[in-house]
Subunit: 387 residues, 2 copies
C-alpha cells in the first residue's frame, strides 16, 4: 500500500427531505448567494422552488446563473465570475449534477483570482490562494463532484477538457435526496452509472496489486451499483435502489477508493477528448472508451483482471490462461454496458474515424498509467472503439 | 437506506515515515503542547524520540502526561485537565492507541469545561461548547479513535465505562505509520483485530437489511482484516498486512460503515461491563461476548446471518433452514476468534459466574438494538459466555 494523505471535510445530508437542512447550512454564510443551475428541469420537478424557499428562509439576496450546459464551458465560468464581482457574492449554491457543480467550483476560485482562471490554473498550473465557499443540492448521481475538490471544464475553441483540484474546492455541504434523481431520464441514469463504474475502474486497475482495503471496497461498490441499477432500470422510483446509486456515486470519488494506489485515470483522459471535440455526454463517452481501453491493457497486466473476472463476474478460471480470463472479463464489461443501453462504439456517439488522430493528439498519458500507455497506444485504442 | 448526516474532517497522513508530516501539522497550533502517552513502550521503539524531535523542530513547549492505562480511568483525565490549566496548554498530542486517544479527548473537552466532565457530559449528558485541538500519532490498530469524534472512559469506583461523542473531538490530524505497529505483542494485535471486526459487526448486523452500500463495504473490510491478520500472525513485520489492518481499522469506525443503518452496538455495551468490573482488555472482552451475543440473536433475525454465512464464510446453504445456516455462521465466528488466540469464555478472562448479575445490571440495551434486547437477555448472554 502506497503512502497517502487524506482529507475530506464535506458535510453530507443524505435522504428524503434532506433539503430541510439547507436553511440552517446557508445561515453560516454571507447574505449574497449565487444560485447556479442548468436547464429548466429543476423548475418542472419542484426542486427549484424548494431551494428558493430555503434561501428565502435564510434571508439571502439571490442572484441566478442558469443554463449551465453538460460538459460546461469556460464562457459560463467567465459569466459566473462577472456576476460574483458585480454582486459581491458571498456564497455559491450549485443545484444540479456534476456539470453545474464543476462550473461553480471554477467560478468560486475564478472570482477570487487576479488573473484569468484558464491560463493561471489550467495552463500555468499555478496555485490559488482562496475561493468563495460553495454548497451543493445534488440532482444526478454520477460524477462524485458533490464530495470532492475536483472540477473539469471544457475550452471549446481549443477542444480541451481539463481538470483542476484544490482543497479549498470541497463543498461546505452537499444535500443528497435520492428522490431528486427520480426524474432524470433513463439514459442519464445509465450514463451516470457508467461514470461511477468508470471512476472505480480508474483506481482499481492501478498499481500496486498487493492486498489493499481500497480494492476490496472498490469491488463492493461495483457490485452494489450493478445490482441497484438493475432494480432502478425496472423501477426508476425505487427509493432503496436510487439511494444506493446516489451514495455509491459519492463514495466512488470522494478520495477513499484511490488511497494507497497510484491511480490510472486513462479512461477519463481519453474520454475527455471525445467530449472536447464532439460534446459527447461524459458517461456515454466512457461507455465507449473504458472497456476498449481495459481490453487493450489487460494482456499486459492480466493479474488484476483475473481477480476482477472472479470477484465481479464469477467467471470460472479452470483450464484458462490468465490472459484468456482477463480478456473474458473485459468483454463481459463491454457487453454489460451494451445491455444497460449505453453506446459502445464511436459511431453510436456520432464520431467519425477521421477524428481519431486529432483527438488522440490531445491526450497525454500519465507516467503512472497502469500499463505505461503512450500517445500511439491512445490512437490504437480509439481505432478499436470503431468496432 | 435510512436518512443520515456525515462529516469527518480528520486529516490522515498514512504510511512509512509519515511522522515527517508532524512538524508541519504542529506549526498550525499554539506553543504549549501536552504530550500524552501510555507506558514506556514508545521510548523503547524510538517513536517517543521521533515525536520529541518533531515537537522541537516546531519549537513547542512540551509538557508530558504519561502512564495512561488500557481502559483509561477518570483519574487520568482529571490529571490531564489540571496540567492543561496549569500550563495554558494550546494543543494535545496523543501518541498511542485508543486508550491514550480517548483519555486525551476527554482532557481536551474537560479542560474547557466549567463543571466536572463526568457529571456534565456523561451523567447529565449536557452539551459542550469548545475543546482543545488534538492530534494523534497512532501506535496500535484497533479502536478507530484516530479518525472519529468518540471516546470511552471508565469510572472505576462506579464500575461504569461510558462513551461520549462530539464533532469538536475529531483529531485535527492523525499520523498512521504501519511500522509503528510492528512492536505490539501478538495478543494486542489479535485483540485489535477482534475490536475492528466487532465494530463492523455492530453496524452490519443492524436494521434495515435492504441493499446498502455500507453493508457491502462492511463485508469487504471483514474479509480484508481476516486475510491480513493471517499474514501478520505469520510475519508481524509484513508491511502490506500491517498497512491493511491499520487502514481497515480507521475505515471500520470513521462513521462510513454505519451510514443508512440504525446501528446496534450491543456487543460493545455488554463488553464495557466486563472492562468496567474486571479491567479486561477491550478486544479480549469482545472476543468472549460478541460471538455469543450474535448466537443469541441470530435465531430472531436470521436473514442477515444467512448473507453473512454465504459472503464471509462461503457456507453451503443447500438443504438447510435459515436458522441453521445462521447458527453455523456465528459458530464459525467464535471458532475463528479461538483460532487466532483470543479468549472465548468468561473464565479465560478471569471473570467468575457470580459476577454476571452485577455486570448485567449496568447494561442498558438501546431501543434500536437489532433484536430488541432486554436486560434479562443480557444476563442470559453473559451466562452463555461461561460455556
Amino acid at each position: 500500500m502506497h503512502t497517502f494523505d487524506f482529507y475530506n471535510p464535506v458535510g453530507i445530508h443524505f435522504g428524503e427531505n434532506s433539503i430541510s437542512k439547507l436553511t440552517h447550512e446557508l445561515e453560516k454564510f454571507g447574505p449574497n448567494v449565487l444560485l447556479t443551475y442548468g436547464g429548466g428541469s429543476i423548475k418542472r420537478n419542484g426542486i427549484y422552488q424548494a431551494v428558493l424557499d430555503s434561501l428565502k428562509a435564510a434571508r439571502k439576496n439571490v442572484f441566478e446563473l442558469s443554463g449551465i450546459m453538460a460538459n460546461p464551458r469556460t464562457e459560463k465560468v467567465y459569466e459566473g465570475i462577472r456576476m460574483c464581482r458585480d454582486h459581491a457574492i458571498d456564497f455559491i449554491l450549485a443545484v444540479g449534477g456534476g456539470s453545474v457543480i464543476d462550473c461553480s467550483k471554477f467560478i468560486a476560485v475564478g472570482a477570487k483570482l487576479d488573473g484569468d482562471f484558464w491560463e493561471t490554473l489550467l495552463i500555468k498550473q499555478e496555485s490559488m490562494g482562496e475561493a468563495l465557499p460553495l454548497g451543493v443540492v445534488l440532482t444526478l448521481a454520477a460524477t462524485g463532484s458533490e464530495m470532492n475538490a475536483t472540477c473539469v471544464i471544457t475550452h471549446w475553441q481549443k477542444h480541451l477538457k481539463l481538470a483542476y483540484e484544490h482543497d479549498l474546492l470541497y463543498p461546505k455541504f452537499s444535500i443528497l435526496d435520492p428522490i431528486y434523481t427520480y426524474s432524470v431520464s433513463k439514459s442519464q441514469m445509465v450514463f451516470g452509472c457508467v461514470d461511477i463504474l468508470s471512476h472505480i475502474f480508474e483506481v482499481y486497475f492501478s498499481a500496486p496489486d498487493t492486498s489493499n482495503v481500497s480494492d476490496d471496497i472498490a469491488e463492493a461498490l461495483m457490485k452494489n451499483v450493478m445490482e441497484n441499477l438493475a432494480v432502478a432500470l425496472n423501477n426508476p422510483r425505487d427509493y432503496t435502489a436510487r439511494s444506493n446509486i446516489m451514495w455509491a456515486s459519492s463514495m466512488a470519488l470522494n478520495g477513499l477508493l484511490g488511497l494507497g494506489k497510484e491511480q490510472d485515470w486513462m479512461g477519463h483522459q481519453i474520454e475527455h477528448a471525445l467530449s472536447a471535440f464532439y460534446d459527447v455526454p461524459h458517461g456515454a463517452g466512457l461507455a465507449v472508451v473504458h472497456p476498449v481501453y481495459l481490453k487493450y491493457i489487460c494482456q499486459k497486466v492480466p493479474k488484476k483482471f483475473v481477480r476482477y473476472a472472479q470477484h465481479i463476474w464469477h467467471l470460472d478460471r479452470s483450464g484458462k490462461t490468465e490472459e484468456a480470463i482477463a480478456l473474458e472479463s473485459v468483454e463481459k464489461t463491454r457487453a454489460y454496458f451494451k445491455s444497460i443501453g449505453a453506446p459502445i462504439t464511436l459511431q453510436e456517439v456520432g464520431i467519425p474515424a477521421e477524428a481519431i488522430n486529432e483527438m488522440a493528439a490531445t491526450v497525454h498519458p500519465f507516467p503512472t498509467s497502469y500499463a505505461h500507455l503512450t500517445q500511439e497506444d491512445v490512437k490504437h485504442i480509439l481505432q478499436q472503439c470503431l468496432e
